[in-house]
Amino acid sequence: MYVVAPIDVNTNQAYLLGYLLCSQLSTPRRVRFYIDSGSTITTLLSIDIVRLNLRWSNLTQTDCDTAIGPAKPYELPSVTILLKTIVDEQGTEQLIPHSLDKINLLPPDDPCDVVPAQYEFAFSLLGMDILKEFTRWEWNFTKNQLILK
């Protein structure tokens, strides 16, 4: 089984489109995630949080370190992310669920001391909590694809 992540030709970064499910959402919602091996935990950023109309004020806050300083994301519990996966040699596609105890939210009013999340920084991040399930990564910059197996 494998997942194909396109590589954005402008940033050379791989991303995946998937569906997010959680108790706050009545239907699966589409989210674009950058593949981010530097993120321990999958994280939704401000544009997606607002677009999905997620509420964070009653969620638990946690501490984490980022490349530009500390942050205090909110923890969204019991999340499932569906990713389009090729499941056999015939190329059959299925949406495979990846269940997580929690993901992080960095909403627009995030009390991050260094750089508050802004709408310019739009891209949610698929972290190692899911990425670790793929034991082989094959980068192909000719086809602009990252294959995760």
Binding site: M1, P6, D8, V9, N10, T11, Q13, Y15, L17, G18, Y19, P28, R29, R30, R32, Y34, D36, G38, S39, I47, V50, R51, A67, I68, L82, K84, E93, Q94, L95, I96, P97, H98, S99, Y119, E120, A122, F123, L125, E133, F134, T135, K149
Partner: protein, 92 residues
């Protein structure tokens, strides 16, 4: 072969529809990527919403854009991007 926890699968009837919608959105993002320079020329510093490979809405303000999109049935069918002059540089 990665070890995946598959406790549930999406209803196969629903799955086809969800996959199709994902593919459609993928095409919108690819179109944005392929047309980055033209978009910078015509929609600089704007948040754009793209559907069917056309910019259907743009706004200086993201929340104003979202208010317009929320009036539509399938908000997720729009690919949203902020078009800026600065070269793309992400630190993740």
């Amino acid at each position: 072969m990665p070890v995946l926890v598959q406790k549930k699968r999406v209803d196969p009837k629903l799955e086809l529809e969800l996959l199709s919608k994902l593919d459609q959105l993928q095409q919108e993002y690819l179109w944005i990527s392929d047309n980055e320079q033209k978009l910078k020329k015509n929609h600089l510093n704007k948040y754009i919403a793209v559907k069917n490979k056309k910019v259907v809405f743009d706004s200086d303000d993201f929340e104003a854009l979202m208010k317009v999109l929320m009036l539509h049935d399938d908000v997720d069918s729009f690919a949203i991007k902020h078009i800026t002059k600065k070269p793309a540089c992400l630190l993740l």
